[in-house]
Symmetry: C2
Subunit: 498 residues, 2 copies
């Protein structure tokens, strides 16, 4: 069989699998947005059936035969990235028996419900039993996937191919030092910057309208997407033609909704930007979670937490909320959006202290997955680490170890992606400024066309057909560095706190 014929055959198999996976994603999205409470148990069964089905197709006879054929191509498959991807995903999937897939899917759906209840009641003990079940299942999966040095590496790899505890630890240690140094350096000036302008009363409907307006300006296509309310902001997609963002609204904090939407829209535009040819194939996904986060964070931090952005956005904010910010300047909002203050909630954290939230989670997750902590001790360890890294202590568990959705879907190993995303974003930003010399002027007038085009051409269109290191090296000349991020932070916050 020719490689072209084989690709056609494999594509058709991928279409079926991707359609089942898309259905599962829609069921998940619905569960988060509109599903009535009483449906949770049956929904868990339904999602579990779909996930098991996708797994059956990915590991079934047709897939086995296809992979044998791909192997016969003898390296020629390099020119057929979809064949390569199929083989890789097959090899990962066959390591996990269907029974474990089904159990994990069901445990995830139920854990998600118990997390929501626990969070509402601010009681970790309500979440603990289902978390334990998920941790046990993930340990089982990690053992089946295999690893060289640390069991946690097996899970890191799911989100960031090639990433290990040993590669991350020195980077994280360097960020720890930088953060401590930075916090000391601004200690005397901290009263010169305030986020008060963001914390006025901004009515719900206006926040949603302004956020949608900004997302549309950025280039998020509402003909292929939408924004809904959910307990936690997220982005999911059912194809590049149907990308769903969620947000939440706090009427006394504009940033929670606005930057939530901007962040998710950054993810969303990545998903909308995959080449049409990749639709309903394994290529229609981000290269990795780190690369995905580089897209959301580039928009959320570098682009829209800039003074130029507020030159564009402030008049729109003033129009949307008459009388609330009439006497403010763009610089007021620039500073408000970049107030550095050790705080409790990761998603609301500033760019400087954010990484400490990740380090904390990285360390706790490693312990969980290596069986070095009893789950019941997590709330206390969380408080202890928050105190030690950021000098703040959560008053309750909802604002502590129950704040994130990630553990409820078994996403252990995911958090480091956020910091990787920051590092990647800073690396990309250095190149973007060279490639689009007028970028800052563009931002100041709300023209994001050239930027989105650049991202589309250099990153989005490839979807998952290139590896993270391949993408970063092609664009920046190296796979990863922390220098660009540290330089960016130093320059920016010297300005904010000047």
């Amino acid at each position: 069989m020719s490689a072209e014929q084989l690709e056609k055959q494999v594509r058709s198999l991928m279409n079926t699998i991707c359609d089942i996976q898309a259905a599962s994603s829609i069921l998940n999205w619905d569960q988060e947005t509109y599903m009535p409470n009483g449906a949770a148990e049956t929904r868990a069964e339904q999602i579990s059936s779909l996930d098991a089905l996708a797994h059956q197709f990915l590991t079934g006879n047709d897939a086995v035969k296809a992979v044998e054929q791909i192997e016969l191509l003898n390296g020629q498959s390099e020119q057929f990235p979809l064949l390569k991807l199929f083989k890789e995903d097959f090899e990962k999937a066959v390591k996990i028996p269907e029974d474990l897939v089904r159990k994990t899917s069901k445990a995830t759906a139920l854990a998600h419900e118990s997390w929501k209840k626990a969070r509402q009641a601010s009681d970790f003990s309500l979440f603990e039993p289902s978390l334990q079940e998920l941790v046990d299942l993930k340990i089982e999966a990690a053992e089946l996937h295999g690893y060289k040095e640390d069991r946690y590496d097996a899970l890191l790899n799911i989100f960031e191919p090639g990433m290990t505890v040993n590669l991350l630890t020195p980077v994280f240690d360097r960020l720890k030092t930088t953060t401590v140094d930075f916090l000391q350096s601004i200690e005397s000036k901290k009263d010169s910057v305030t986020d008060e302008p963001m914390l006025r009363n901004y009515p719900h409907a206006g926040q949603m309208e302004l956020s949608a307006f900004i997302a549309e300006k950025m280039g998020f296509r509402f003909n292929n997407g939408r924004i809904d309310l959910a307990a936690h902001p997220f982005c999911t997609s059912f194809s590049q033609y149907d990308v769903r963002l969620t947000t939440r609204v706090n009427e006394n904090d504009l940033g929670s909704c606005l930057y939530g939407v901007i962040h998710e829209a950054g993810h969303g535009m990545y998903e909308q930007g995959f080449a049409p040819d990749l639709a309903r194939t394994f290529g229609a996904d981000g290269a990795s979670m780190g690369i995905h986060e580089s897209q959301s964070l580039l928009w959320e931090t570098i682009i829209t937490r800039s003074e130029e952005f507020w030159q564009f956005a402030l008049p729109h904010l003033q129009k949307q909320f008459p009388g609330i910010a009439d006497n403010n300047t763009p610089r007021d909002f620039f500073k408000a959006a970049n107030t550095v203050r050790p705080s409790l909630i990761r998603v609301d954290a500033d760019e400087v202290t954010y990484n400490m939230h990740i380090v904390l989670r990285f360390e706790i997750e490693q312990m969980m997955i290596n069986g070095k902590i009893a789950l019941k001790d997590i709330p206390e360890l969380w408080r202890e680490k928050m105190r030690s890294y950021l000098g703040v202590i959560p008053p309750n568990e909802a604002k502590g170890c129950l704040q994130d959705i990630h553990w409820s879907f078994g996403g252990f190993g995911y958090f480091p992606s956020y910091t990787l995303g920051k590092l990647y974003a800073a690396m990309l930003w250095k190149v973007i400024q060279k490639d689009i010399p007028s970028i800052k002027e563009n931002i100041a007038v709300g023209d994001f066309t050239a930027l989105l085009e650049w991202l589309g051409k250099n990153i989005h269109q490839y979807g998952r057909t290139q590896k993270p290191s391949e993408i970063m090296t092609r664009i920046t000349g190296e796979p990863l560095n922390a220098d660009d991020f540290i330089a960016y932070i130093n320059t920016k916050f010297a300005d904010v706190y000047r």
Copy 2:
């Protein structure tokens, strides 16, 4: 294998199939309510994949083996209604090749989009090509299903097991005569009844709130369901624990939303009422479309278009819309909700003229399926029949042959269910009045508990495990009659037009 063991095995197979079908329903619901426009094509592919998959499982090796085992039980399967249902559904499904299932599913999704566009533009020609494709596919299906006398019988049977053109025609002819007689009898009194109270300006949000309040009072469980907006009111469910209603709002016609929600809630409570044991099996569905409609119509017409209902509901309406109906009496709204006036839109039609809308569609569909009309001639034939049966002529196609969603999902043979539902509902009502002597007093105070309990016990709990004629005979002593309906109409409208 014992029958019990076999049932367990078949249940598990049904679970998988039902989960896939539920996913397909969720994708359809999402398409109607929240899906962005640009996703239509990919969504069609996804739904088509799921439908094909469900069909594969229903006709695959495991199913074939199960049906062989069921046959070996030699009639013992009568005591296992799920085994009986599985065998019946298998036998229906194997007649339709997977390719036809896939084509139909895809054609349906696309036809649905083109219907929406055509309806908006009020231009039937925009819908005609996809309608033609669907008609051709349905003719192919009818031929594969088989029939004795009329090709249309094969499609009628899908919605109402055992129903034929020959059984329906005399009933419809009788209703034609009754309607003409009735319209003549009230001709001189027609100005004594007006629907003006329903046609005042009722703001959107208040309509949704009042409708939801009434639905909840009736017994629709919002913990297992919800109401959303869509172009057309419908009810769909993904299990008895997740039932979705849709409605639309016309600010100058309270009845459109209110009675739309009541009607769909009638369907919804049927779906919520299936025995827990039937979840994720072929038993968790209505006995037939006619029985389903008997539930929605019982609530929408007999229960809530009564004077007693308005004794209960009017104070709530007055509270919801202060100043709009302060001087009206329950009898004003009773008469408003029962104004007989030949009109253009089926879903807005009164109980008397409604059946003429069905007769018209029944006749046109028969011609379509028997190839006795070119589709381009439908708008003209529609106008002609509306003129002849009801004396009104649609000013455009949106208010004529494009008003209904049914053809866009290939539901030829469905419309007669509405009239069957009316006949069944009147038959049930006669028994309900005997079994619950206080029923009218209950309605007058908004207490629907005994009624819902009666319906649950006599109808809902059985789901699809009993046939329509079996259910009707058990409750009323006979499978179908038109007398109870005609008697009900005569008594009721003698009161309205007294």
